[in-house]
Protein backbone atom coordinates (compact mmCIF):
# COMPACT_ATOMS: atom_id res chain seq x y z
CA UNK A 1 0.00 0.00 0.00
CA UNK A 2 1.25 3.42 -0.92
CA UNK A 3 0.27 6.31 1.31
CA UNK A 4 0.06 8.66 -1.68
CA UNK A 5 -2.70 6.59 -3.23
CA UNK A 6 -4.32 5.48 -0.06
CA UNK A 7 -7.61 7.19 -0.87
CA UNK A 8 -8.30 4.35 -3.27
CA UNK A 9 -8.52 1.97 -0.30
CA UNK A 10 -11.47 3.98 1.05
CA UNK A 11 -14.70 3.41 -0.88
CA UNK A 12 -16.25 6.64 0.39
CA UNK A 13 -14.01 8.66 -1.91
CA UNK A 14 -15.57 7.08 -5.00
CA UNK A 15 -18.70 9.21 -4.72
CA UNK A 16 -19.23 12.89 -5.39
CA UNK A 17 -20.62 15.26 -2.77
CA UNK A 18 -22.64 18.09 -4.23
CA UNK A 19 -21.12 17.20 -7.58
CA UNK A 20 -17.59 17.59 -6.24
CA UNK A 21 -15.10 14.98 -5.10
CA UNK A 22 -15.27 14.53 -1.33
CA UNK A 23 -12.61 16.47 0.57
CA UNK A 24 -12.95 14.86 3.98
CA UNK A 25 -11.39 16.96 6.72
CA UNK A 26 -13.44 15.67 9.64
CA UNK A 27 -11.41 12.68 10.77
CA UNK A 28 -11.09 13.91 14.35
CA UNK A 29 -14.85 13.48 14.46
CA UNK A 30 -14.77 10.03 12.90
CA UNK A 31 -12.44 8.55 10.31
CA UNK A 32 -13.57 6.87 7.14
CA UNK A 33 -13.15 3.11 6.83
CA UNK A 34 -10.88 1.21 4.44
CA UNK A 35 -12.42 -1.47 2.27
CA UNK A 36 -10.64 -4.19 4.22
CA UNK A 37 -12.49 -3.22 7.39
CA UNK A 38 -15.88 -2.97 5.71
CA UNK A 39 -15.40 -6.27 3.90
CA UNK A 40 -14.26 -8.04 7.04
CA UNK A 41 -17.45 -7.06 8.81
CA UNK A 42 -19.64 -8.34 5.96
CA UNK A 43 -17.59 -11.41 5.61
CA UNK A 44 -17.80 -12.15 9.32
CA UNK A 45 -21.58 -11.83 9.28
CA UNK A 46 -21.78 -13.94 6.13
CA UNK A 47 -19.61 -16.84 7.17
CA UNK A 48 -18.66 -16.79 10.82
CA UNK A 49 -21.26 -14.97 12.86
CA UNK A 50 -22.30 -16.30 16.20
CA UNK A 51 -22.54 -15.06 19.74
CA UNK A 52 -19.25 -15.02 21.59
CA UNK A 53 -18.30 -17.02 24.67
CA UNK A 54 -21.64 -18.70 25.09
CA UNK A 55 -22.03 -21.84 22.99
CA UNK A 56 -19.76 -24.72 22.12
CA UNK A 57 -20.70 -25.22 18.48
CA UNK A 58 -18.27 -24.56 15.66
CA UNK A 59 -19.48 -21.07 14.74
CA UNK A 60 -19.47 -19.97 18.35
CA UNK A 61 -15.98 -21.31 18.84
CA UNK A 62 -14.75 -19.50 15.74
CA UNK A 63 -16.39 -16.24 16.74
CA UNK A 64 -15.06 -16.49 20.28
CA UNK A 65 -11.55 -17.17 19.06
CA UNK A 66 -11.66 -14.32 16.55
CA UNK A 67 -12.91 -12.00 19.28
CA UNK A 68 -10.26 -13.00 21.79
CA UNK A 69 -7.55 -12.90 19.13
CA UNK A 70 -8.30 -9.22 18.65
CA UNK A 71 -7.75 -8.65 22.35
CA UNK A 72 -4.29 -10.14 21.91
CA UNK A 73 -3.72 -8.04 18.84
CA UNK A 74 -4.71 -4.83 20.62
CA UNK A 75 -2.53 -5.79 23.55
CA UNK A 76 0.41 -6.20 21.20
CA UNK A 77 -0.39 -3.02 19.28
CA UNK A 78 -0.48 -0.94 22.48
CA UNK A 79 2.29 -2.95 24.09
CA UNK A 80 0.14 -3.58 27.13
CA UNK A 81 1.52 -6.02 29.66
CA UNK A 82 -1.47 -8.35 29.96
CA UNK A 83 -4.25 -9.24 27.56
CA UNK A 84 -6.66 -8.78 30.47
CA UNK A 85 -5.89 -5.07 30.42
CA UNK A 86 -7.85 -4.61 27.20
CA UNK A 87 -11.60 -4.04 27.71
CA UNK A 88 -13.91 -3.57 24.75
CA UNK A 89 -16.41 -0.75 25.24
CA UNK A 90 -18.95 1.17 23.18
CA UNK A 91 -16.51 4.01 22.70
CA UNK A 92 -13.98 6.18 24.48
CA UNK A 93 -16.89 7.81 26.26
CA UNK A 94 -17.95 4.53 27.83
CA UNK A 95 -14.34 3.72 28.66
CA UNK A 96 -13.94 6.95 30.64
CA UNK A 97 -17.36 6.54 32.28
CA UNK A 98 -16.34 3.06 33.39
CA UNK A 99 -13.19 4.34 35.07
CA UNK A 100 -14.85 7.41 36.60
CA UNK A 101 -17.71 5.32 37.98
CA UNK A 102 -15.58 2.53 39.41
CA UNK A 103 -12.69 4.68 40.58
CA UNK A 104 -15.05 7.30 41.95
CA UNK A 105 -17.06 4.74 43.85
CA UNK A 106 -14.06 3.09 45.44
CA UNK A 107 -11.43 5.73 45.86
CA UNK A 108 -12.94 9.21 45.81
CA UNK A 109 -14.47 10.77 48.89
CA UNK A 110 -15.75 14.16 49.95
CA UNK A 111 -13.21 16.88 49.39
CA UNK A 112 -10.93 14.72 47.23
CA UNK A 113 -9.61 16.31 44.08
CA UNK A 114 -9.74 15.28 40.46
CA UNK A 115 -7.18 17.12 38.38
CA UNK A 116 -7.88 17.87 34.75
CA UNK A 117 -7.39 20.67 32.20
CA UNK A 118 -9.45 23.27 30.41
CA UNK A 119 -8.69 21.46 27.16
CA UNK A 120 -10.79 18.40 27.81
CA UNK A 121 -13.55 16.98 25.66
CA UNK A 122 -16.89 16.70 27.46
CA UNK A 123 -16.34 12.95 27.53
CA UNK A 124 -13.41 13.49 29.85
CA UNK A 125 -15.23 15.97 32.04
CA UNK A 126 -18.89 15.06 32.42
CA UNK A 127 -18.12 11.59 33.91
CA UNK A 128 -15.95 13.35 36.52
CA UNK A 129 -18.68 15.89 37.08
CA UNK A 130 -20.94 12.95 38.02
CA UNK A 131 -18.32 11.83 40.55
CA UNK A 132 -18.13 15.38 41.89
CA UNK A 133 -21.89 15.40 42.36
CA UNK A 134 -22.06 11.98 43.96
CA UNK A 135 -19.05 12.19 46.19
CA UNK A 136 -18.69 15.88 46.89
CA UNK A 137 -15.31 15.85 45.18
CA UNK A 138 -13.58 18.86 43.67
CA UNK A 139 -12.48 19.19 40.05
CA UNK A 140 -9.42 21.34 39.46
CA UNK A 141 -8.59 22.64 36.02
CA UNK A 142 -5.08 23.35 34.83
CA UNK A 143 -5.52 26.42 32.67
CA UNK A 144 -4.84 26.63 28.98
CA UNK A 145 -3.04 29.65 27.54
CA UNK A 146 -3.70 31.42 24.21
CA UNK A 147 -1.41 29.02 22.42
CA UNK A 148 -3.58 26.17 23.58
CA UNK A 149 -0.91 24.87 25.88
CA UNK A 150 -1.10 23.76 29.49
CA UNK A 151 1.79 24.61 31.75
CA UNK A 152 3.49 21.65 33.42
CA UNK A 153 4.43 23.74 36.42
CA UNK A 154 0.84 24.69 36.96
CA UNK A 155 -0.17 21.06 36.91
CA UNK A 156 2.56 20.37 39.45
CA UNK A 157 1.28 23.14 41.68
CA UNK A 158 -2.28 21.93 41.45
CA UNK A 159 -1.36 18.49 42.73
CA UNK A 160 -2.11 18.27 46.44
CA UNK A 161 -2.31 15.38 48.84
CA UNK A 162 -6.02 15.31 48.09
CA UNK A 163 -5.47 14.68 44.37
CA UNK A 164 -6.85 11.21 43.73
CA UNK A 165 -6.60 11.01 39.95
CA UNK A 166 -5.39 13.03 36.98
CA UNK A 167 -7.50 12.87 33.82
CA UNK A 168 -6.01 14.49 30.79
CA UNK A 169 -6.22 14.34 27.04
CA UNK A 170 -3.42 13.05 24.86
CA UNK A 171 -4.14 15.43 21.98
CA UNK A 172 -6.68 18.23 22.06
CA UNK A 173 -9.41 17.70 19.51
CA UNK A 174 -9.64 21.50 19.04
CA UNK A 175 -6.18 23.03 19.20
CA UNK A 176 -4.34 19.85 18.29
CA UNK A 177 -2.06 20.38 21.29
CA UNK A 178 -0.02 17.28 22.00
CA UNK A 179 0.11 17.18 25.77
CA UNK A 180 3.35 16.26 27.54
CA UNK A 181 1.67 13.20 28.96
CA UNK A 182 4.85 11.30 29.67
CA UNK A 183 6.06 14.10 31.91
CA UNK A 184 2.72 14.44 33.62
CA UNK A 185 2.61 10.72 34.27
CA UNK A 186 6.11 10.74 35.71
CA UNK A 187 5.19 13.66 37.95
CA UNK A 188 2.06 11.87 39.11
CA UNK A 189 3.90 8.64 39.73
CA UNK A 190 6.16 10.36 42.21
CA UNK A 191 3.07 11.06 44.24
CA UNK A 192 1.46 7.71 43.42
CA UNK A 193 -1.48 9.38 41.69
CA UNK A 194 -3.05 7.36 38.88
CA UNK A 195 -3.40 9.03 35.47
CA UNK A 196 -6.11 8.53 32.88
CA UNK A 197 -5.24 9.56 29.35
CA UNK A 198 -8.07 10.33 26.95
CA UNK A 199 -6.27 8.87 23.98
CA UNK A 200 -9.12 9.32 21.53
CA UNK A 201 -7.12 11.72 19.38
CA UNK A 202 -3.75 10.18 20.23
CA UNK A 203 -4.18 6.56 19.23
CA UNK A 204 -5.02 7.20 15.56
CA UNK A 205 -1.86 9.22 15.00
CA UNK A 206 0.89 8.40 17.46
CA UNK A 207 2.86 5.27 18.14
CA UNK A 208 1.89 3.95 21.54
CA UNK A 209 3.87 1.93 24.03
CA UNK A 210 1.69 1.85 27.10
CA UNK A 211 4.19 -0.02 29.25
CA UNK A 212 6.72 2.66 28.58
CA UNK A 213 4.17 5.47 28.99
CA UNK A 214 3.07 3.83 32.24
CA UNK A 215 -0.32 5.55 32.48
CA UNK A 216 -2.99 3.77 34.49
CA UNK A 217 -5.81 4.17 31.95
CA UNK A 218 -5.89 4.96 28.25
CA UNK A 219 -9.20 5.40 26.40
CA UNK A 220 -9.56 4.79 22.66
CA UNK A 221 -12.29 5.28 20.05
CA UNK A 222 -11.92 2.60 17.39
CA UNK A 223 -14.05 4.57 14.94
CA UNK A 224 -11.41 7.31 14.81
CA UNK A 225 -8.77 4.68 14.00
CA UNK A 226 -10.31 3.57 10.70
CA UNK A 227 -12.29 0.97 12.60
CA UNK A 228 -16.01 0.36 12.98
CA UNK A 229 -18.62 2.45 14.73
CA UNK A 230 -19.79 1.62 18.20
CA UNK A 231 -16.51 0.30 19.52
CA UNK A 232 -13.96 1.66 21.93
CA UNK A 233 -11.20 0.29 24.10
CA UNK A 234 -10.32 0.85 27.70
CA UNK A 235 -6.76 0.03 28.53
CA UNK A 236 -6.35 -0.22 32.27
CA UNK A 237 -3.58 -1.55 34.43
CA UNK A 238 -4.67 -4.92 35.68
CA UNK A 239 -4.39 -3.99 39.35
CA UNK A 240 -7.17 -1.44 38.95
CA UNK A 241 -9.46 -3.74 37.04
CA UNK A 242 -8.98 -6.43 39.66
CA UNK A 243 -10.01 -3.96 42.36
CA UNK A 244 -12.81 -2.23 40.50
CA UNK A 245 -16.40 -3.30 41.02
CA UNK A 246 -18.10 -4.39 37.79
CA UNK A 247 -19.64 -1.65 35.64
CA UNK A 248 -22.75 -3.11 34.02
CA UNK A 249 -24.39 -6.30 35.23
CA UNK A 250 -25.65 -9.09 33.01
CA UNK A 251 -24.80 -12.23 31.13
CA UNK A 252 -21.19 -13.26 30.76
CA UNK A 253 -19.68 -11.16 33.54
CA UNK A 254 -20.69 -13.37 36.45
CA UNK A 255 -19.05 -16.20 38.28
CA UNK A 256 -21.94 -17.51 40.38
CA UNK A 257 -25.46 -16.22 40.73
CA UNK A 258 -27.69 -16.88 43.71
CA UNK A 259 -30.87 -15.30 44.93
CA UNK A 260 -29.08 -13.51 47.72
CA UNK A 261 -25.72 -12.83 46.13
CA UNK A 262 -23.73 -12.64 42.90
CA UNK A 263 -20.03 -13.18 42.39
CA UNK A 264 -18.20 -11.94 39.35
CA UNK A 265 -15.88 -13.25 36.69
CA UNK A 266 -12.29 -12.13 36.71
CA UNK A 267 -10.79 -9.35 34.58
CA UNK A 268 -11.53 -8.56 31.72
CA UNK A 269 -14.78 -10.56 31.52
CA UNK A 270 -16.15 -8.79 34.60
CA UNK A 271 -16.41 -5.61 32.53
CA UNK A 272 -17.95 -7.06 29.39
CA UNK A 273 -21.60 -7.61 30.29
CA UNK A 274 -24.09 -8.78 27.72
CA UNK A 275 -23.58 -9.62 24.09
CA UNK A 276 -20.48 -7.91 22.80
CA UNK A 277 -19.88 -6.18 19.47
CA UNK A 278 -18.22 -9.18 17.90
CA UNK A 279 -18.44 -8.05 14.28
CA UNK A 280 -17.05 -4.65 15.19
CA UNK A 281 -14.21 -6.14 17.20
CA UNK A 282 -13.33 -8.49 14.36
CA UNK A 283 -13.56 -5.60 11.90
CA UNK A 284 -11.27 -3.52 14.06
CA UNK A 285 -8.63 -6.16 13.66
CA UNK A 286 -8.40 -5.14 10.01
CA UNK A 287 -8.08 -1.50 11.00
CA UNK A 288 -5.01 -2.41 13.03
CA UNK A 289 -3.68 -4.38 10.07
CA UNK A 290 -4.25 -1.35 7.88
CA UNK A 291 -2.33 0.91 10.26
CA UNK A 292 0.43 -1.61 10.77
CA UNK A 293 0.84 -2.25 7.07
CA UNK A 294 1.42 1.43 6.44
CA UNK A 295 3.26 1.95 9.70
CA UNK A 296 2.00 4.40 12.27
CA UNK A 297 5.18 6.48 12.08
CA UNK A 298 4.75 6.84 8.34
CA UNK A 299 1.11 7.83 8.80
CA UNK A 300 2.19 10.36 11.39
CA UNK A 301 4.86 11.81 9.12
CA UNK A 302 2.44 12.06 6.23
CA UNK A 303 -0.23 13.72 8.34
CA UNK A 304 2.29 16.16 9.77
CA UNK A 305 3.33 17.22 6.28
CA UNK A 306 -0.26 17.97 5.37
CA UNK A 307 -0.82 19.69 8.70
CA UNK A 308 2.18 21.97 8.34
CA UNK A 309 1.29 22.78 4.76
CA UNK A 310 -2.22 23.64 5.88
CA UNK A 311 -1.13 25.80 8.79
CA UNK A 312 1.28 27.75 6.66
CA UNK A 313 -1.23 28.31 3.94
CA UNK A 314 -3.97 29.37 6.36
CA UNK A 315 -1.59 31.66 8.23
CA UNK A 316 -0.99 33.53 4.97
CA UNK A 317 -4.75 34.17 4.66
CA UNK A 318 -5.48 37.41 6.51
CA UNK A 319 -9.13 36.66 7.04
CA UNK A 320 -8.33 33.45 8.87
CA UNK A 321 -7.49 33.24 12.54
CA UNK A 322 -6.00 29.96 13.65
CA UNK A 323 -7.17 28.92 17.10
CA UNK A 324 -4.18 28.13 19.28
CA UNK A 325 -0.55 27.78 18.36
CA UNK A 326 0.88 24.92 20.40
CA UNK A 327 4.49 23.96 19.94
CA UNK A 328 3.55 20.34 19.41
CA UNK A 329 0.43 19.91 17.31
CA UNK A 330 -1.32 16.88 15.87
CA UNK A 331 -3.62 16.72 12.85
CA UNK A 332 -6.15 19.37 13.85
CA UNK A 333 -6.52 23.02 12.75
CA UNK A 334 -9.34 25.03 14.25
CA UNK A 335 -9.93 28.54 12.96
CA UNK A 336 -12.32 31.45 12.76
CA UNK A 337 -12.91 34.11 10.11
CA UNK A 338 -13.74 37.71 10.77
CA UNK A 339 -17.38 38.39 9.97
CA UNK A 340 -18.29 34.82 9.10
CA UNK A 341 -19.51 32.41 11.74
CA UNK A 342 -17.95 28.90 11.69
CA UNK A 343 -21.36 27.40 11.12
CA UNK A 344 -21.70 29.41 7.92
CA UNK A 345 -18.18 28.52 6.85
CA UNK A 346 -19.00 24.83 7.19
CA UNK A 347 -22.12 25.19 5.07
CA UNK A 348 -20.33 27.11 2.32
CA UNK A 349 -17.42 24.67 2.29
CA UNK A 350 -19.84 21.79 2.03
CA UNK A 351 -21.04 23.14 -1.30
CA UNK A 352 -17.55 22.41 -2.57
CA UNK A 353 -17.56 18.90 -1.11
CA UNK A 354 -15.33 19.98 1.77
CA UNK A 355 -16.38 18.33 5.04
CA UNK A 356 -15.24 20.13 8.19
CA UNK A 357 -16.85 20.55 11.59
CA UNK A 358 -18.10 23.75 13.21
CA UNK A 359 -19.08 24.40 16.82
CA UNK A 360 -17.44 23.92 20.18
CA UNK A 361 -16.46 20.34 19.34
CA UNK A 362 -17.60 19.15 22.75
CA UNK A 363 -15.09 21.50 24.40
CA UNK A 364 -17.26 24.28 25.76
CA UNK A 365 -14.93 25.08 28.65
CA UNK A 366 -12.05 25.68 26.26
CA UNK A 367 -14.16 27.89 23.99
CA UNK A 368 -15.50 29.87 26.95
CA UNK A 369 -11.97 30.41 28.15
CA UNK A 370 -10.96 31.73 24.75
CA UNK A 371 -14.03 33.94 24.70
CA UNK A 372 -15.37 32.42 21.54
CA UNK A 373 -18.50 30.38 21.03
CA UNK A 374 -17.47 28.32 18.05
CA UNK A 375 -14.63 27.45 15.70
CA UNK A 376 -14.35 25.76 12.34
CA UNK A 377 -12.17 22.66 12.44
CA UNK A 378 -10.31 20.87 9.71
CA UNK A 379 -8.81 17.58 10.87
CA UNK A 380 -6.50 15.33 8.99
CA UNK A 381 -6.42 11.60 8.39
CA UNK A 382 -4.13 9.27 6.49
CA UNK A 383 -6.03 9.81 3.24
CA UNK A 384 -5.64 13.59 3.12
CA UNK A 385 -3.33 15.30 0.64
CA UNK A 386 -1.98 18.77 0.01
CA UNK A 387 -4.61 19.14 -2.68
CA UNK A 388 -7.25 18.73 -0.01
CA UNK A 389 -5.71 21.71 1.74
CA UNK A 390 -5.68 23.68 -1.50
CA UNK A 391 -9.36 22.94 -2.03
CA UNK A 392 -10.06 23.92 1.58
CA UNK A 393 -8.27 27.24 1.14
CA UNK A 394 -10.02 28.05 -2.14
CA UNK A 395 -13.32 27.31 -0.52
CA UNK A 396 -12.46 29.50 2.45
CA UNK A 397 -11.86 32.34 0.02
CA UNK A 398 -15.26 31.68 -1.47
CA UNK A 399 -16.82 32.26 1.96
CA UNK A 400 -15.66 35.84 1.75
CA UNK A 401 -17.35 36.25 -1.61
CA UNK A 402 -20.64 34.83 -0.36
CA UNK A 403 -20.48 37.23 2.55
CA UNK A 404 -19.30 40.17 0.42
CA UNK A 405 -16.23 40.61 2.56
Amino acid sequence: MDIKNIKSEFPIFKQKVNGKPLTYLDSANSSQKPKAVIDRISNFYETEFSNVGRSVHTLAVKATNRFEDVRDKVKAYLNAKHREEIIFTKGATEAINLVATAFGEKFINKGDEILTTELEHHSNYVPWHFVRQKKGAVIKFASVNEKGEVDLDEIKKLITNKTKIIAITHISNVTGTIMPIKKIIDMAKEKKIPVLIDGTQGAPHIKLDLQDLDCDFYAISCHKMYGPNGLGILYSKKKWLDEFPPYQGGGGMISEVFKDNVTFASTPTKFEAGTMQTAEVVGFSEAINFIENLGIEKINKHENEILEYGIEKLKRNNSVNIFGDPKERGSVISFTMKGIHPHDIATILDEDGVAIRAGHHCCQILHDKMGISATARASIGVYNTKEDIDILCDSINKCKKVFNI
Partner: protein
Protein backbone atom coordinates in the same frame (compact mmCIF):
# COMPACT_ATOMS: atom_id res chain seq x y z
CA UNK B 1 -27.02 27.82 -6.82
CA UNK B 2 -28.54 27.06 -3.46
CA UNK B 3 -26.00 28.94 -1.38
CA UNK B 4 -27.32 32.14 -2.93
CA UNK B 5 -30.77 31.07 -1.76
CA UNK B 6 -29.50 30.61 1.74
CA UNK B 7 -27.37 33.70 2.06
CA UNK B 8 -29.62 36.26 0.40
CA UNK B 9 -28.77 39.94 0.62
CA UNK B 10 -31.55 40.56 3.13
CA UNK B 11 -30.20 37.87 5.42
CA UNK B 12 -26.63 39.06 5.25
CA UNK B 13 -27.84 42.56 5.95
CA UNK B 14 -29.76 41.47 9.04
CA UNK B 15 -26.86 39.32 10.17
CA UNK B 16 -24.34 42.10 9.90
CA UNK B 17 -26.62 44.81 11.26
CA UNK B 18 -29.04 43.06 13.50
CA UNK B 19 -32.06 45.17 14.47
CA UNK B 20 -33.25 45.46 18.06
CA UNK B 21 -30.18 44.10 19.73
CA UNK B 22 -29.85 44.45 23.47
CA UNK B 23 -32.39 44.43 26.27
CA UNK B 24 -35.52 46.38 25.39
CA UNK B 25 -36.83 48.91 27.89
CA UNK B 26 -38.97 47.56 30.72
CA UNK B 27 -39.01 44.01 29.42
CA UNK B 28 -41.27 41.82 31.52
CA UNK B 29 -40.83 38.49 29.69
CA UNK B 30 -37.71 36.81 28.45
CA UNK B 31 -36.38 33.41 27.45
CA UNK B 32 -33.17 31.85 26.23
CA UNK B 33 -32.50 29.16 23.72
CA UNK B 34 -29.32 27.60 22.47
CA UNK B 35 -28.02 24.89 20.23
CA UNK B 36 -25.57 22.72 22.14
CA UNK B 37 -24.08 21.31 18.95
CA UNK B 38 -22.74 24.59 17.58
CA UNK B 39 -22.93 26.96 20.53
CA UNK B 40 -25.45 29.35 18.98
CA UNK B 41 -27.31 31.30 21.64
CA UNK B 42 -30.25 33.65 21.71
CA UNK B 43 -32.01 35.53 24.49
CA UNK B 44 -35.35 37.17 23.67
CA UNK B 45 -36.67 40.15 25.67
CA UNK B 46 -40.29 41.15 25.52
CA UNK B 47 -42.36 43.98 26.91
CA UNK B 48 -45.94 42.78 26.87
CA UNK B 49 -48.58 45.28 27.97
CA UNK B 50 -51.72 44.22 29.77
CA UNK B 51 -53.69 44.10 26.50
CA UNK B 52 -51.23 41.51 25.26
CA UNK B 53 -49.57 43.83 22.77
CA UNK B 54 -45.84 43.57 22.24
CA UNK B 55 -44.64 47.01 23.09
CA UNK B 56 -40.98 46.17 23.18
CA UNK B 57 -39.11 43.25 21.57
CA UNK B 58 -35.36 42.70 21.33
CA UNK B 59 -32.71 40.03 21.53
CA UNK B 60 -29.19 39.30 22.57
CA UNK B 61 -27.22 36.46 21.13
CA UNK B 62 -24.40 35.17 19.11
CA UNK B 63 -24.28 32.68 16.36
CA UNK B 64 -24.27 32.14 12.66
CA UNK B 65 -25.71 34.48 10.05
CA UNK B 66 -28.89 32.48 9.87
CA UNK B 67 -29.61 32.56 13.59
CA UNK B 68 -28.77 36.26 13.92
CA UNK B 69 -30.78 37.24 10.84
CA UNK B 70 -33.70 35.17 12.01
CA UNK B 71 -33.74 36.84 15.44
CA UNK B 72 -33.37 40.25 13.89
CA UNK B 73 -36.19 39.67 11.40
CA UNK B 74 -38.37 38.27 14.14
CA UNK B 75 -38.02 41.35 16.32
CA UNK B 76 -38.48 43.69 13.39
CA UNK B 77 -41.62 41.97 12.19
CA UNK B 78 -43.39 41.44 15.49
CA UNK B 79 -42.73 44.60 17.43
CA UNK B 80 -46.02 46.36 18.06
CA UNK B 81 -48.15 43.34 17.19
CA UNK B 82 -50.50 41.52 19.51
CA UNK B 83 -49.98 38.07 20.87
CA UNK B 84 -52.53 36.20 18.80
CA UNK B 85 -50.98 37.50 15.63
CA UNK B 86 -47.52 36.72 16.94
CA UNK B 87 -48.34 33.12 17.74
CA UNK B 88 -50.02 32.76 14.39
CA UNK B 89 -47.09 34.03 12.39
CA UNK B 90 -44.62 32.04 14.48
CA UNK B 91 -46.46 28.85 13.70
CA UNK B 92 -46.57 29.84 10.04
CA UNK B 93 -42.85 30.43 10.12
CA UNK B 94 -42.01 27.13 11.80
CA UNK B 95 -44.32 25.42 9.38
CA UNK B 96 -42.61 27.07 6.43
CA UNK B 97 -39.27 25.54 7.41
CA UNK B 98 -40.71 22.17 8.27
CA UNK B 99 -43.06 21.67 5.37
CA UNK B 100 -41.49 23.93 2.79
CA UNK B 101 -44.56 26.13 2.57
CA UNK B 102 -44.46 29.91 1.96
CA UNK B 103 -45.73 32.62 4.28
CA UNK B 104 -48.52 34.92 3.09
CA UNK B 105 -50.42 36.61 5.89
CA UNK B 106 -52.45 39.51 4.65
CA UNK B 107 -51.78 41.64 7.67
CA UNK B 108 -48.10 41.76 6.77
CA UNK B 109 -46.69 44.26 4.30
CA UNK B 110 -45.12 42.95 1.08
CA UNK B 111 -41.77 44.03 2.37
CA UNK B 112 -42.24 42.09 5.54
CA UNK B 113 -43.34 39.01 3.65
CA UNK B 114 -40.31 39.21 1.38
CA UNK B 115 -38.10 39.57 4.41
CA UNK B 116 -39.51 36.59 6.24
CA UNK B 117 -39.57 34.47 3.13
CA UNK B 118 -35.89 35.20 2.61
CA UNK B 119 -35.33 32.61 5.36
CA UNK B 120 -37.07 29.91 3.34
CA UNK B 121 -33.76 29.01 1.66
CA UNK B 122 -32.93 27.22 4.90
CA UNK B 123 -35.42 24.51 3.91
CA UNK B 124 -32.74 22.96 1.73
CA UNK B 125 -30.19 22.84 4.54
CA UNK B 126 -31.59 20.49 7.18
CA UNK B 127 -28.75 21.00 9.64
CA UNK B 128 -29.40 24.75 9.59
CA UNK B 129 -33.10 24.68 10.38
CA UNK B 130 -32.43 24.84 14.09
CA UNK B 131 -30.40 28.01 13.50
CA UNK B 132 -33.41 29.64 11.86
CA UNK B 133 -36.05 28.47 14.32
CA UNK B 134 -34.22 28.96 17.60
CA UNK B 135 -35.26 32.58 18.18
CA UNK B 136 -38.88 31.79 17.36
CA UNK B 137 -38.98 28.97 19.87
CA UNK B 138 -37.44 31.32 22.44
CA UNK B 139 -40.12 33.88 21.64
CA UNK B 140 -42.86 31.33 22.30
CA UNK B 141 -41.40 30.39 25.65
CA UNK B 142 -40.84 34.04 26.57
CA UNK B 143 -44.53 34.66 26.01
CA UNK B 144 -45.41 31.78 28.32
CA UNK B 145 -42.96 32.82 30.98
CA UNK B 146 -43.24 35.84 33.27
CA UNK B 147 -40.01 37.54 34.15
Amino acid sequence: MELKQLYQEIILDHAKNPRNKGKCKDYNHDAKAHNPLCGDKVHIYLNLDKDKNIKGLSFEGEGCAISLASASILTDTLKGRDITFTKNITNNFLNMLKNKSKISLNSLSEDQITTINSLSGVQEFPMRIKCATMAWHALLSAIEKKN
